[in-house]
């Protein structure tokens, strides 16, 4: 994969064939971008344009440039997708193997020489993200949704060689979302998150708002929003503590219902 500094999106057309109003939008490495908008507003199509390095002839007529240049056909049509690693919506593994065997197999497929070191490394990262620790001798298919997601994220964080990482909705996965984004963050990568979750939407340096098949706004996160984000993160933690408390059979008590944290005290 040719290294590039930034990827630019040049405007195309909305579903009703009106031109998109932004100028030329550059995505830089080391930054997080979130894509928000209603279902059917064109989020997937935007991803597809990026993934396929659209050259203006597609459905949306958008053009993707790398460092100001139209990418070559060889790159655009390279059979192997070298541009994007996908963390898709699925929450479970389907391969029936032990966690450690799978990590080793994957490492072998990627030509990594120290396969057993890889197991430790990936489990270390995965276990930062999920509540219940994953053991190397567990079966992949027995992992919970959160554990599976954590393992998938750790794998991409440690292994992925693509310059773009695309995350499709990690909400409700039972993992620490912000830590997950942090773990994937890398100054050599562009992170794109498609999401409906306010916490994740605010984790992006810039938000791309989609409607009617087009990019309707591109918003830079304000300082105020950064403050809100830390509040949201706190209440997200409280919520997950409450979830755990209920799971463990504890009862909630406290003096006030205004401040949720007290309930757990």
């Amino acid at each position: 994969m040719k290294v590039f500094k930034y990827l630019q999106i040049k405007p195309g057309l909305t579903k009703t064939q009106e031109p998109e109003t932004f100028e030329c939008f550059a995505l830089e490495k080391g930054k997080v971008y979130t894509i928000v908008g209603k279902t059917g507003s064109g989020k997937t199509q935007l991803i597809e344009d990026i993934e396929s390095l659209a050259n203006g002839s597609g459905l949306t007529k958008r053009t993707i440039l790398l460092d100001n240049e139209i990418p070559s056909d060889t790159l655009r049509y390279a059979p192997h997708n070298q541009l994007v690693s996908h963390l898709s919506q699925n929450m479970h593994f389907i391969l029936d193997m032990l966690v450690k065997d799978f990590i080793e197999l994957h490492a072998r497929c990627r030509g990594v020489s120290n396969c057993s070191g890889q197991v430790e490394k990936i489990l270390y990262h995965a276990n930062i993200l999920c509540g219940e620790k994953i053991r190397a001798t567990e079966k992949l298919t027995n992992l919970s949704g959160g554990q599976s997601r954590a393992l998938m994220i750790a794998d991409i964080a440690v292994n992925s060689s693509t310059p773009i990482i695309l995350i499709d909705e990690i909400e409700n996965a039972g993992i620490n979302k912000l830590k997950a984004v942090d773990m994937l963050l890398d100054n050599k990568k562009i992170i794109i998150i498609v999401t409906h979750d306010p916490l994740l939407a605010l984790s992006g340096d810039q938000r791309v708002v989609m409607s009617n098949g087009g990019i309707s706004r591109i918003m830079t996160r304000s300082n105020y929003e950064i403050e809100i984000l830390s509040l949201l993160n706190k209440s997200d933690k409280v919520l997950s503590n409450i979830r755990n408390a209920l799971r463990q059979g504890r009862s909630l008590r406290g003096v006030s219902t205004d401040d949720l944290q007290v309930i757990l005290e």
Binding site: T44, I47, E48, E51, S52, G58, D73, R76, Y77, A78, P79, H80, N81, S85, H86, L87, S88, Q89, N90, F93, I94, L95, D96, F102, L105, H106, C109, R110, S148, M152, D155, I156, N159, S160
Partner: protein, 233 residues
């Protein structure tokens, strides 16, 4: 005319992928025809009709659908020529793992669903090992790591083929297949054309409609399991 043959197990995503590819090609003002071969029934007609291109469906009924394809190839080709076709897409029934319904000068694609074959892509046989392009679908249902492991296995079965991940639901990746199709061989005739892989020798009683089981009903090529050699405890 370019001939593009799609093989692949039932419900692997052939129709979905072909649909997206053709949809992307429609504004190129080229004539496209499509033939679907199946055994007993097929609903492809309704799907492909939305593309507004000539579609023909052939049902093999009592015949093996791959034999049926071989028998009808010239007729299908002539039909497409009558429509002044630039591209002839053929979606085969792809029923068993014994065959590969491919032609030497056509672009031969095999569609594999990575969910159902993740444990044993090698079971898919010549359909995979002789294909020019292997299209891996339903990647949205497994993880990036599993996809990479799966592709590695496929590559080890056929390292000549181009392996392309494509999604039949949203068309992701289909532009890469389209590119290979647009740049594939132009055929001016099917004269002297050959199948890539021979079809099974089908000359026993059951080939001609016998349904009773038992030695007295069996004639022709009879091949029995050698239990001494193949039994294991």
């Amino acid at each position: 005319m370019k001939i593009i043959i799609f093989a692949g197990a039932p419900a692997s995503g052939k129709t979905s992928v072909i649909y997206h590819i053709i949809e992307q090609m429609l504004n190129e003002s080229q004539q496209i025809c499509i033939a679907k071969l199946d055994c007993l029934s097929s609903n492809e007609h309704q799907i492909y009709e939305k593309l507004n291109i000539p579609v023909v469906v052939g049902l093999s009924k009592d015949l093996c659908p791959d034999h049926y394809l071989a028998i009808n190839l010239l007729e299908i080709y002539d039909w497409a020529k009558d429509h002044n076709s630039d591209y002839l897409f053929i979606e085969t029934a792809g029923l068993c793992n014994r065959c590969a319904p491919f032609l030497e000068s056509a672009l031969n694609l095999c569609v594999i669903d990575c969910v159902s074959s993740i444990k044993s892509p090698e079971k898919l046989g010549p359909m995979v090992s002789t294909a020019d392009v292997i299209v891996v679908t339903k990647g949205d249902m497994i993880s990036q790591a599993e996809r990479e492991v799966f592709n590695y296995h496929v590559k080890s079965i056929n390292n000549q083929a181009v392996i392309i991940e494509a999604n039949g639901l949203n068309g992701l990746g289909c532009h890469r297949i389209r590119y290979l199709i647009v740049n594939s061989n132009d055929l001016t005739t099917l004269e002297g054309e050959k199948l890539v892989y021979s079809m099974p020798k089908a000359i026993c009683s059951y080939c001609v409609g016998e349904t009773r089981i038992g030695q007295q009903y069996q004639q022709g090529m009879i091949s029995l399991i050698d239990f001494n050699e193949h039994e294991s405890i």
